[in-house]
């Protein structure tokens, strides 16, 4: 079972830096403790998203490979 999230964003139609920018926008709007799931087909997300989450001191909860895309779950930690 994939981890449930407070908000799910489908960024599969958008390419670099689209998915990361969608995540950043969602983090801005979220409350501390919320989890955000972002779906991305962009291979660049694999490095970009975890690197940004670490720098911004949020929490990378899970990365899962689905059929032709990946799902990144991030928790807003501060």
């Amino acid at each position: 079972m994939p981890t449930a999230a407070t908000k799910e964003i489908d960024a599969r139609g958008s390419f670099c830096p689209g998915p990361l920018m969608e995540l950043i926008r969602a983090i801005r709007d979220a409350d501390v403790g919320d989890t955000i799931a972002i779906l991305s087909k962009d291979p660049g997300s694999r490095t970009d998203i975890p690197a940004w989450v670490a720098k911004a001191k949020h929490e990378m909860v899970e990365i899962s490979d689905e059929d032709g895309y990946s799902r990144y779950v991030v928790k807003k930690a501060r």
Binding site: S14, P17, M21, I24, R28, D48, A51, W52, A56, K57
Partner: protein, 381 residues
């Protein structure tokens, strides 16, 4: 009855589309009119040079009427609302104007107010007024920490802030204040800017010129009193001079008409450039939501498939498939400082492989700055 074709906005995309339409449509088959809020056509790439005191006033702005063919009508007025069901655009002064085919070319708009402290604390070069004010600030600058950054994505001409910082480094060196200045470039991404291959080319040049690159800096606010830029990632940057690109939005008329997304960008088909979900409406240039650079060059190439589709509709034939399809072409010159530049060319399927920076591309950009007025808005070339 001639077909009514209305073009909203007389910038790069609007003026070029209107002139090409008027040239290609059979005489008497249609009336082409441009609506523009200012009646001026502004060459925005010139702002970059203006900030360094290098721009020639003659290539910054011209009367739009002088760039349109005689058989293209011009209405100097502001569009307030588009009613795609009734096929009517409501203008501020003239009231409702009907259309059979509509081209939206209303550009992107700076939204300084959405970043607290930006207006009071930072300079910019993305408008004529900001670039003029920055020019005076740079003339008086005696050293300290300069920050160049991007306060919101997407923004037009992705290379422009990088070009600015490289030209700034050269400018300060020539003025003899470089050794008293720290230059920091703040990028929202994990590299210099959106295009990977060009970022790889720029990174060593930054290093060689002593420009500090700070990645993943998404600017949240500016504190004008403490002279600090604060990021969403929790960092604080002190500055003596901050030069920031403000966040961009689509035109108010798009939001007021319920046509745009959250940022006021029009949902646009990536090949036909039709606005999704409505009939006979096209979007060109900065106003689209396409995942490519917002640039004059994008608008330049997008004009052709739109023109083919509208001309075909007026002539009652099917559009020629190849001519009617936009493939994501973009081409930009990219200044690197010290009279060197490169060129970035790409489309949806082919990422750019920029050539080594050289004086040839620098001269080509200057040539283009002059030639622009004769070719681009007029639809020649």
């Amino acid at each position: 009855m001639p077909a009514e074709i209305l073009v909203l906005g007389g910038g790069v995309g609007g003026s070029r589309t209107a002139n090409l339409l008027a040239r290609q449509l059979p005489a008497g088959s249609a009336r082409v009119r441009v609506v523009d809020a200012t009646g001026l056509h502004v060459y925005q790439p010139g702002f970059l040079y203006l900030a360094f005191g290098q721009a020639n006033g003659g290539w910054l702005a011209r009367d739009l009427r002088s760039l349109l063919r005689r058989d293209v009508g011009l209405i100097v007025d502001r569009a307030r609302r588009i009613d795609t069901d009734a096929k009517v655009v409501h203008l501020e002064q003239e009231g409702p104007v009907g259309y059979d085919h509509l081209v939206i070319a209303t550009g992107s708009h700076l939204d300084h107010a959405s970043v607290p402290g930006l207006t009071q604390g930072a300079h910019g070069f993305y408008s004529l007024k900001d670039a003029e004010r920055l020019r005076e600030e740079l003339r008086a600058f005696q050293g300290g920490t300069v920050i160049v950054g991007i306060a919101g994505m997407p923004y037009k001409c992705p290379p422009a802030p990088v070009e600015f910082v490289l030209l700034l480094e050269e400018y300060l060196r020539k003025r003899g204040v470089r050794d008293r200045t720290t230059i920091k470039f703040l990028s929202p991404l994990n590299r210099v800017f959106t295009i990977e291959s060009a970022s790889q080319m720029v990174a060593p040049i930054f290093e060689q010129k002593g420009i500090e690159l700070h990645t993943f800096v998404n600017i949240e606010s500016v504190d004008p009193d403490k002279r600090q830029v604060l990021s969403l990632e929790g960092e604080t940057f002190d500055y003596d001079l901050a030069v920031l690109v403000p966040p961009h939005r689509g035109a108010d008329v798009i939001t007021a008409s319920g046509l745009g997304d959250r940022g006021g960008w029009l949902p646009t088909d990536r090949h036909s450039l039709r606005v999704e979900g409505v009939d006979d409406v096209y979007a060109i240039g900065d106003c689209t939501d396409l995942p490519i650079s917002k640039s004059g060059s994008t608008a330049h190439y997008e004009a052709h498939p739109i023109v083919e589709q509208i001309v075909a509709a007026v002539e009652g034939r099917a559009p020629e498939p190849k001519k009617a399809r936009y493939e994501g072409q973009v081409m930009c010159f990219f200044e690197m400082g010290d009279r060197k530049a490169t060129i970035i060319r790409f489309d949806y399927d082919h990422p750019p492989g920029p050539p080594k920076p050289s004086v040839v591309w620098h001269l080509a950009k200057w040539g283009f700055n002059r030639a622009y007025w004769y070719f681009v808005p007029r639809g020649i070339f």
